[in-house]
């Protein structure tokens, strides 16, 4: 059985093994024992609330309790860009129009910005290929929203998630080749590695500071602005279902989109509900609507745990199986938070 839970110091070796499988493309999860060790330490301190909220980095692991293996990992960073500047391009619109000539030209423009500084970031999502089936991917990605719904005071109102940008099957990034290469004069992978190491001052030194007209880029670079890597399409869809939107920010190197959301408008915040763990009676079963998978978490920050259950909350009570109770470390009478895994259609219209 799978449980998502707050990471612990003892997970470090397993995390390193998992990071080794990630491959390139995810700058926040590299197989580097020092980096990972630091990160786990921060994560443990985050759940323990021994460091201030903006420095926190909540890391979750998905554990297969049958084998003890880690099946996946994901994280929420309290705030980005407070140590090193966090750069994006923002896509803006400039209208160039002349009444005299009856010309009205709408131009897209890229502005180098640090606008997302201070936002809470969803990041470092990785699911072991052995577990890529059923609802596991959804469970792992969405667990973060239920966590935020339970502890909204720990986060900024603004939430972001950087999506990997489009690359050709050869690994070539049309956006980087059309823009960044002219200013950095080095390979994409090299730039990517530098930023992963936190060496970002070269961006201030080398990037053009003036707004850029998208129309001046080669066509293949224009075409991929805001476009995700083919393998990232499903991940993007999951986040969009939960209330995250592409609002015009893209990565400065590969033009991958940044999805943004407001905590108060997340589906999880609007629709999740607390319920009391109840004894298994026929009554509650009888009244429960049709079964659908439900995310259920405990309400304990330090030992946060979540399962994907088939129990449903009815009138503020939930009939959790003994297994689920054990995985969540809750008992009858305890309060849990629940959210349907899938988005319900608007039944009002």
């Amino acid at each position: 059985m799978l449980v998502v839970r707050a990471i612990q110091a003892t997970d470090l070796d397993a995390l390193y093994d998992m990071a080794s499988q990630v491959g390139s493309g995810m700058t926040t999860l590299k197989p580097d024992m020092k980096m990972l060790g630091d990160r786990v330490e921060i994560a443990v301190a985050s759940f323990a609330e021994t460091i201030p909220p903006e420095k926190r980095d909540y890391m979750f692991v998905m554990e297969d309790t049958d084998s003890g293996r880690l099946a996946g990992v994901c994280a929420i960073k309290g705030s980005v860009g407070l140590d090193e500047p966090f750069y994006n391009y923002r896509i803006g619109t400039l209208v160039h129009s002349s009444r005299e000539l009856k010309v009205f030209t709408r131009m897209e423009t890229l502005y180098l910005s640090n606008d997302l500084t201070g936002s809470t970031e969803l990041c470092s999502l990785f699911l072991n290929p052995d577990y890529r089936h059923g609802n596991n991917g959804k469970f792992l990605s969405k667990c973060r929203f239920l966590f935020i719904a339970q502890f909204p005071h720990l986060f900024t109102e603004k939430l972001i998630a950087e999506m990997r940008g489009y690359q050709e099957s050869s690994g070539r990034s049309p956006f980087y080749e059309g823009l960044g290469r002219h200013f950095f004069k080095m390979e994409f992978d090299h730039v990517d590695a530098l930023t992963a190491q936190g060496k970002k001052s070269f961006i201030a030194e080398l990037m053009p500071r003036q707004p850029l007209y998208v129309a001046y880029l080669p066509q293949d670079a224009q075409d991929v602005v805001g476009k995700v890597h083919t393998s990232t399409v499903p991940a993007r869809r999951l986040l969009e279902q939960e209330g995250m939107h592409f609002e015009g920010y893209v990565d400065i190197f590969d033009a991958g989109p940044v999805l943004q959301g407001r905590v108060s408008e997340l589906r999880a915040v609007r629709d999740s509900a607390l319920a009391v763990v109840d004894v298994d009676t026929d009554m509650t079963h009888a009244c429960a609507p049709q079964m659908e998978p439900v995310l259920v978490s405990n309400t304990n920050l330090k030992d946060f745990r979540m399962v994907l259950s088939e129990a449903a909350a009815v009138n503020g009570k939930i009939d959790l199986s003994a297994d689920d109770q054990k995985l969540l470390r809750v008992h009858a009478g305890d309060v849990v938070r629940t959210l349907t895994l899938n988005v319900r259609k608007n039944t009002h219209v």
Partner: protein, 343 residues
């Protein structure tokens, strides 16, 4: 013998003929009789105007063959570019990029829409027909404008520039335009030039042209290749102007990417090495005395005249010996003043 003089009303028909054969570029003469007549009238008014501060004056000169009184060339100078607006050009910016962390150092070239040439004096409309192309009179015509400016500095700015037509294809297409301006104007190069009438001071330029730098490495190769390149028709003007002291490279035209030459008057040979001399009548020629060709000009108004004449070197003398027929052409008499520069 040839003389450069201000245009007159009687020249309109000849100019019309000339306009029909001259290049379809944008920095040459107007094409229609009405516009030519307007330009001639503006020039006559300008030469006779009392000027304290350069403004909308435009001075149009013609090169006349005294043999048959044919007009074989034209050249103009505007007192103050963009005088009823802003003269727009692209400034060639070189942005130094240095990252000490990465041990990278290179420069990136960018074009920025700017109005810095506004209120410079602008040389324009230089054209000579083929018969005169290789004669010193071509240089005379080009420099006559500066000789005039040297005689009447209050009529002009301290800085001058000259836009030269950029490289275009056989059908008038411009790779620079296609890469830069077309995206904003949504029309062909020739249509755009026609629409704007060759002007560079129109409100619609600031409305439509890019407000932010155009980074040159992002432009297609053919557009980069023609930046600062001149149309073949401009080669004579270019070589005369660079010899004069004009510098290219700082600015290019916003439409076709052609070079805009510019200089402070102190850098121009005509301004720095012209000499003022008193006219004398030559003694009976001492054969064998070496002579040097000079451009000589007289009179700072509508009576302005300039010719090429070969006389003994004047550097060590207070006078210049001009044959009587030259005096007549220049409309000066013995004892009068002329301005001279080696040509």
């Amino acid at each position: 013998m040839y003389v450069v003089r201000p245009v007159e009303l009687a020249d309109i028909a000849a100019l019309e003929k000339l306009a029909a054969v001259s290049m379809p570029g944008v920095h040459t003469l107007p094409k229609t009789r009405d516009k030519i007549a307007q330009a001639v009238e503006a020039s006559i008014a300008s030469f006779s105007a009392h000027v304290d501060i350069p403004s909308e004056e435009s001075y149009l000169f013609v090169l006349e063959s005294l043999a048959d009184h044919g007009i074989v060339g034209t050249a103009a100078i505007f007192a103050s570019a963009g005088s009823n607006g802003t003269y727009f050009s692209f400034r060639n910016d070189v942005i130094q990029q240095v990252s000490r962390d990465l041990n990278i150092s290179h420069s990136v070239h960018a074009l920025t829409l700017c109005s810095e040439l506004t209120a410079y004096s602008q040389l324009s409309s230089f054209y000579v027909n083929e018969a005169v192309q290789n004669r010193p009179e071509a240089a005379l015509l080009s420099r006559a404008r500066l000789l005039f400016a040297a005689m009447a500095p209050q009529r002009f700015a301290d800085r001058f520039f000259v836009p030269l037509a950029g490289a275009t294809g056989a059908n008038g297409e411009s790779p620079f335009w296609d890469a830069v301006g077309r995206k904003f104007f949504q029309m062909d190069f020739l249509d755009a030039e026609r629409t704007i009438g060759g002007a560079r001071n129109r409100t619609l330029i600031v409305e439509l042209m890019p407000h932010y730098p155009v980074y040159v490495p992002l432009l297609p190769g053919d557009a980069q290749a023609v930046m600062g390149q001149i149309h073949p028709s401009g080669e004579l003007a270019f070589s005369l102007l660079t010899a004069e002291g004009f510098e290219a490279d700082d600015y290019i035209d916003i439409f076709d990417g052609g070079p805009i030459l510019q200089a402070h008057k102190h850098a121009l040979r005509t301004c720095t090495s012209s000499l003022q001399r008193t006219v004398a009548t030559p003694r009976p020629s001492r054969s064998g005395e070496p002579v040097v060709p000079y451009a000589v000009a007289a009179n700072a108004g509508q009576e302005f005249r300039a010719v090429v004449v070969a006389v003994p070197a004047i550097e060590g003398s207070a006078t210049i010996a001009l044959p009587v027929e030259v005096q007549e052409v220049l409309q000066v008499a013995e004892g009068g003043n002329v301005i001279c520069v080696r040509i």
